[in-house]
Structure formats: structure tokens, C-alpha cells
């Protein structure tokens, strides 16, 4: 299994990233703010318009180091892509599947199955760990109805029906998500998902972590030679990494949602770190953003047992492992795509 390397996050504005030998050098006001050897990195992620020299872009592309640009709020702006390597045969097969509604549905349903299963386990965990502080009746109902939905998903061969089932599972899960927030309840609440822009603290955190996850998944898919822009459940739209969004579904709850809950419940973030703008949108201040990135990165280093590979890997390699399994299935080496079932 691949080794999980470090990711460099640049959150300072007015910086310039350049290449010096095998090092990435971060300059600010003509002073060197940091210098790191590139072979220790697998990703560079900048927030807020840091400039990058073409030489560094080339080097990153050549060495498979993901170079991503985000806005200060973590909205994705651009990514540097080098020469397309990977496997054409694999990609063409992926396109063929994507063109075929029925085959797409069979792919997508496993991912959605993973999503529903994982959301169910987030709920179940809360039931186990915090039974006295939550509405257990309601939680049990949701958990049971998610199990029901899973049974229905298994036989689906039409995308529309699948979308319907996914939607209803999401509604169920979202309806109890607020209960999973156990601390700082006055400032952190979840009354539904809103985005572009997020209108409350929790949605701001969710949007931010989702975009971090999307970045990781996109990079993982591309590193195994798949086209992250051609999806099965999410249909093609220019500029949308549809396959990454498909694959994200199964990881959202266990990877991002739990991260957000951790940040709030462990009081890593607090209300003073969020700024409300005139138009109602909520953004994080620099320190909060840094705290989130730090927690995100530490989570990535934690080891878990991959349920299908039966191998101990870092959380951060889960998107990569799933991408690998997906590629194997598309190539025909695996009979079915095994989604990531977390428990």
C-alpha cells in the first residue's frame, strides 16, 4: 500500500510558492517563510490566492503532487493537472459505463449503499455512546428506516429511483444530525443543509470539510488513472468532478460529518471563530480554519482496519483504497465494487 505523505496547507495571503532544487519555497514579502523538500509531500493546498511559479506547477504535476487552489473559505478554485498518464483502456471503459444508465446505476447503488450504511452507523454510534443525551426513540426509528432503505437500494437498476432513495435516506439522517451535536448547542445547530453560501456555523464547517474531502477523493481517483469528471450517479456537467462526488457519498458521514461533530463536541472550534457577513453567509476566521485543517490532517494519519482489504491503513488512504477497488472493478478484476463500510 502506498505511504501517506504530508500535505502542505498555505493559509497566509500574499505568499508566493516557488521551486528551488527539490524544495518548495514559500516566500512572503521577499522573505522565506518556509522551505520543504517535495518528496515528503503528496499535496499542496493553498487558501486565498497564493501565487505559484510554473516551475513548481510542473514539478508537482510530474511527481504526482496534488496542487490545489481554494478560496479563503475553502471553496475549490483550480487544480494543476499535468500530462495525462494513467490507463486509456480503463478510462474508456469508465466512459462506456457512464453512458449506460443501467450499468451506471449498478455502480452508483453500491456507493449509495455505502453512504446509507455509514450514516446508519454514525447514528448507531451516537445511540451507543450518548444514549442518555439524545432522543433514542427517534434515533432508533431513523436507524431502522435507513436499514429498510438499504434493502430497497440493493435491487435498483434505475438512476432516478436510486436518487429518490438516496434523497429520502439523507432526509432521515439530516433530521437527527442536530442531535449529534452535544456541546455548544446555542451556537452550533443544524436545521438543514445550506450552501453557497453556508448560512450558519455548522453548514460553514460542513462545506469546508466537504471541499477538503472532494479534493482528496479527486486526487485519489486520478492517481489510479480514472477520470474524476465522469460520474455514474452524478451526471456530466462541465467543471464538476462527478465521479469524485459519487465516491464521496460513502465517505461524507464517516469522514467529514464526524469530523465536524468532533470539532464542535470537543470544543476545538467555538462561536467567536465564525464571522457573519452582511448577506447572511458565515465564514471562518483564520485561526478556526487552521484548527480545522490541523484536526483534518491528524485524522488522516490515524490508522483503521480497511473492512474489505483487511489491512491496516491510514484514514487518509481510504479514498485511495476505494479508488483502487473501483478501478479494479471497472477493469473486470473484481466482480463488484465493494463500498467502504465503516463500523
Amino acid at each position: 500500500m502506498k505511504k501517506l505523505l504530508n500535505t502542505l496547507f498555505v493559509t497566509m495571503p500574499d505568499t508566493y510558492l516557488s521551486l528551488d532544487g527539490e524544495n518548495i519555497v514559500i516566500k512572503r514579502d521577499d522573505e522565506i517563510a518556509g522551505r520543504y523538500p517535495l518528496h515528503n509531500l503528496e499535496g499542496v493546498c493553498t487558501f486565498g490566492y497564493a501565487g505559484v511559479s510554473p516551475a513548481l506547477m510542473g514539478k508537482c504535476a510530474e511527481n504526482n503532487i496534488g496542487l490545489t487552489f481554494m478560496t479563503r473559505n475553502g471553496r475549490f478554485l483550480a487544480r494543476v493537472v499535468g500530462e495525462d498518464k494513467g490507463n486509456v483502456v480503463l478510462r474508456k471503459e469508465q466512459y462506456r459505463i457512464s453512458d449506460d444508465e443501467r450499468r451506471s446505476a449498478i455502480f452508483a447503488r453500491n456507493m449509495i449503499l455505502g453512504k446509507v450504511y455509514n450514516s446508519k452507523w454514525v447514528v448507531e454510534r451516537a445511540l451507543r455512546d450518548h444514549a442518555l443525551r439524545i432522543d433514542t426513540e427517534r434515533m432508533k426509528q431513523v436507524s431502522a428506516s435507513l436499514s429498510e432503505t438499504m434493502k430497497l437500494i440493493r435491487g435498483v437498476e434505475q438512476l432516478d429511483i436510486l436518487r429518490g432513495l438516496e434523497g429520502s435516506a439523507a432526509v432521515q439522517y439530516n433530521s437527527v444530525f442536530d442531535q449529534l451535536i452535544l456541546q455548544q448547542k446555542e451556537q452550533f445547530f443544524f436545521h438543514g443543509r445550506n450552501k453557497r453560501p453556508p448560512l450558519d456555523n455548522v453548514n460553514a464547517l460542513l462545506s469546508f470539510t466537504y471541499s477538503l474531502l472532494a479534493k482528496d477523493v479527486t486526487a485519489a481517483l486520478e492517481s489510479v488513472g480514472l477520470d474524476a469528471y465522469v460520474g455514474f450517479l452524478h451526471r456530466d456537467r462541465p467543471g464538476r468532478a462527478s465521479l469524485a462526488l459519487d465516491m464521496m457519498e460513502e465517505l461524507r458521514s464517516v469522514y467529514a460529518d464526524r469530523m465536524v461533530l468532533y470539532l464542535i463536541n470537543k470544543k476545538v472550534v467555538n462561536d467567536s471563530g465564525f464571522v457573519k457577513k452582511e448577506n447572511g453567509s458565515v465564514i471562518m476566521d483564520d485561526d478556526t480554519r487552521k484548527a480545522v485543517l490541523k484536526a483534518w490532517h491528524e485524522r488522516k494519519q490515524e490508522k483503521i482496519m480497511h473492512p474489505y482489504l483487511n489491512e491496516k491503513i491510514a484514514w487518509g488512504l481510504v479514498p485511495y483504497a476505494q479508488a483502487l477497488l473501483l478501478a479494479r472493478h471497472i477493469r473486470g478484476d473484481l466482480d463488484e465494487y465493494p463500498p467502504f463500510f465503516w463500523k
Binding site: K3, N6, T7, L8, F9, V10, T11, M12, T15, G21, E22, N23, I26, A33, G34, R35, Y36, P37, H39, N40, L41, K290, L293, K294, H297, E298
Partner: protein, 96 residues
């Protein structure tokens, strides 16, 4: 693993001074400079071989010397720093 590299390059001649700067530059490609002629590099076995080879090619074995200290994967407890120029931890979250 963490490898500590120290070197002594004779700078009595012009050639020597050139070698010194080349050795320093090569080390910098692989790790961070913690003191003037001391570098810490996080490398795997392959990278380490590569680095050693590159440095060996550069120096003049009659007058210069290189020392590699292999501190292994569990190096956190083996390094202590006192004083100025605190080094960064290559395996901790890198947030600037």
C-alpha cells in the same frame, strides 16, 4: 526514517568551496538544514540510497568526510532541541 547527515568539506581551495556548496544544496533537496553543516532528512530506503550516492559522487574522499546517522522510524524521542532556530516537524500538519 530520519537520517541525520553531517559533513566536513575542505574549503582551502576554490574547488573545495564549490564542493561545499554543492553538498549543501544536495542535502537541502532531501531535508532541512538544522545547523550549518547538519541536515535532517525524512527519507525511505530508496531515497536514502539515492542521496548517499549523490553525495558520494560530489565529495573528494581525500579531504572531505560525510557522516550518516540513521535514527529509524521512531525518531521522535531521540531528538531534543535547545535554543534558537527551532526545526519544523516534517510529519506534523504543515500549515502556514
Amino acid at each position: 526514517m530520519l537520517v541525520l547527515i553531517t559533513y566536513d568539506v575542505s574549503t582551502s581551495s576554490k574547488e573545495g568551496r564549490r564542493r561545499l556548496s554543492r553538498v549543501a544544496k544536495t542535502c537541502l533537496n532531501y531535508g532541512q538544514r538544522v545547523q550549518n553543516s547538519v541536515f535532517e532528512c525524512i527519507v525511505d530506503a530508496t531515497k536514502f540510497r539515492q542521496l548517499k550516492y549523490e553525495l558520494e559522487e560530489l565529495i573528494d574522499k581525500q579531504t572531505d568526510s560525510l557522516r550518516f546517522y540513521n535514527l529509524g522510524d521512531n525518531h521522535k524521542s531521540k531528538v531534543e532541541h535547545i535554543g534558537a532556530k527551532e526545526a519544523y516537524d516534517m510529519e506534523a500538519p504543515l500549515i502556514l
